[in-house]
Symmetry: C2
Subunit: 305 residues, 2 copies
């Protein structure tokens, strides 16, 4: 990663000068939350949603983001100027600060860090190909918080990759929660089913579901069992960096026809349209014509090969 500058506790400094204390409770006891957003056309995408979620995560851990949204937006803007990515991901990390005793967070003096990275686009064929998730029995601790605890993901991801999977799907006590770093949804009889408990509130996911509802799809939010998932017509994940990705295999089990289904394909198109609109807005060059053209392009790209 090429990250020349970072924001650390109010200062923008070269990465090499950004020292985290060995006594930071985020390091000693994993007491930290984060959020990760992407840029579109060089501008933060869904910034409001990500900042809202960061504050909600912080609340879950009784932490407080030490600066207001405008200050964060300004810091991000400055970092993007300095770091000159084509498109970027922006990571906001909040820890309990330097611990006085190795067991507790600092008293009101958190560590707040902003890092930017070059956005790594997925191979375009991931939206067409047979992407699988490995089933792993696990439920995230404090699921409403986007904590930095990714023990199970990092431990199991090499197995997942070796067995040809893109990522991992968590299930516990017969119920599905979420993918390792994405929301997970299924489609049955054209109805979209969204797990509503024990999961992190998504940023892209709810936006996609709202678009789906607007375009006439029924969405049911509730409990999804592993059996539901295995019997689904379609499945897909949503994430900040990956958008909507069709899932056609859960470990050895084929979902639906084993090919991206019509509802998922439609949602991929809706998301591309959303990105395109954000891109137009960022470039300040949206026109009705270019918008329709880009939609047509997205839909063409989604036709089966």
């Amino acid at each position: 990663m090429d990250i020349p500058h970072v924001y650390l506790n109010g200062h923008i400094v070269p990465l090499a000068e950004a020292a985290i204390s060995p006594l930071d409770i985020g390091l000693l006891r994993g007491y930290a939350v984060f959020d990760l957003l992407r840029t579109v056309g060089g501008r933060p995408f869904l910034l409001t949603e990500h900042l809202k979620r960061l504050r909600a995560s912080a609340d879950e851990l009784n932490l407080k983001v030490p600066v207001d949204d405008a200050t964060i937006a300004q810091a991000i803007e400055r970092l993007l100027e300095l770091n000159q990515h084509a498109e970027a991901t922006v990571r906001l990390l909040l820890t309990g600060g330097v611990s006085p005793d190795g067991r507790t967070a600092s008293d009101g003096d958190p560590t707040f860090l902003i890092l930017t990275h070059e956005l790594q686009d997925l191979a375009p064929n991931v939206y067409e190909d047979s992407v699988g998730l490995m089933l792993v029995e696990h439920a995230r601790e404090l699921p409403q918080a986007k904590s930095t605890n990714y023990l199970t993901m990092l431990k199991r991801m090499p197995d997942a990759k070796e067995t040809g999977n893109m990522s991992i799907l968590y299930h516990k006590d017969g119920r599905i929660s979420e993918a390792a770093s994405a929301s997970f949804y299924i489609v049955k009889d054209e109805v979209i089913l969204a797990p509503s408990a024990g999961v992190l509130y998504g940023t892209v996911g709810p936006r996609i579901l709202a678009l789906a509802e607007k375009s006439g799809h029924r969405v049911i939010r509730g409990q999804i069992t592993l059996d539901d998932a295995l019997a689904a017509d379609e499945a897909f994940i949503t994430s900040t960096t990956r958008g909507v990705v069709p899932i056609v295999r859960l470990s050895q089990n084929t979902i639906g026809t084993g090919r991206p289904g019509p509802v998922t394909r439609k949602l991929i198109g809706l998301f591309k349209q959303l990105l395109q609109e954000a891109y137009c807005a960022a470039q300040d060059q949206c026109s009705k014509r270019s918008r329709s053209a880009s939609i047509a392009l997205s839909e063409t790209a989604l036709d089966p090969p």
Copy 2:
């Protein structure tokens, strides 16, 4: 905490110069394990056991401690010389190193850190007083690894303290596992019951149990239900920094008579004896007389007030 020098990746440096990268996967994704030992008479206590456990924790996360035991022992010795504690705790922290992408550990280049702190002795009356644990529904992720993930402990500890508890006891699906940073045992009809699954392998605990067995107590290792715990005659925790501490309350439930019981009191005596022997060995001044004197002292101190 006054920690003038630390060991970081092969170098002993002043704390202020020990910079952890903002890209360390231990910080970004909580991918890290640690161990914590104490000194007795200025010498590391149960060092072999702690190093064995550190390596076992590392294995669980597919990490590797980058140096051998002799190098670690030497680094600890040097830190203790430099940092001049009366008695110390020594923290060994191993992370997956600087992440190349924010999602994965470094390829074979971990971060290995050693910190020393002044040992904070518990108030002596904790061994006599009515110490309680707050019941919290939770089971640690990857329980065989001493990972840095203490989300639930740090989030819930303020509640526990406010309601007059020393710490937290985890239970899940009707079963007891361990206290937030200690092993937990119960006594029923003079038999000591030790949870054997879903728990971290203790360092002090197994030593205490071995001493108990040697002195004629039966120890059963297996599953302990929450109901077993609530119906126990006695309960106690063991930990590196606290030794053996009697537990007489679990949330609102009194255990046994509500006073430290005879088996627990005996184990406290056995542990004090162990510490005394370690102290003598460290000072190179063990004599039969001083050893017996110290035992007598420990037992006197344990008489009811």
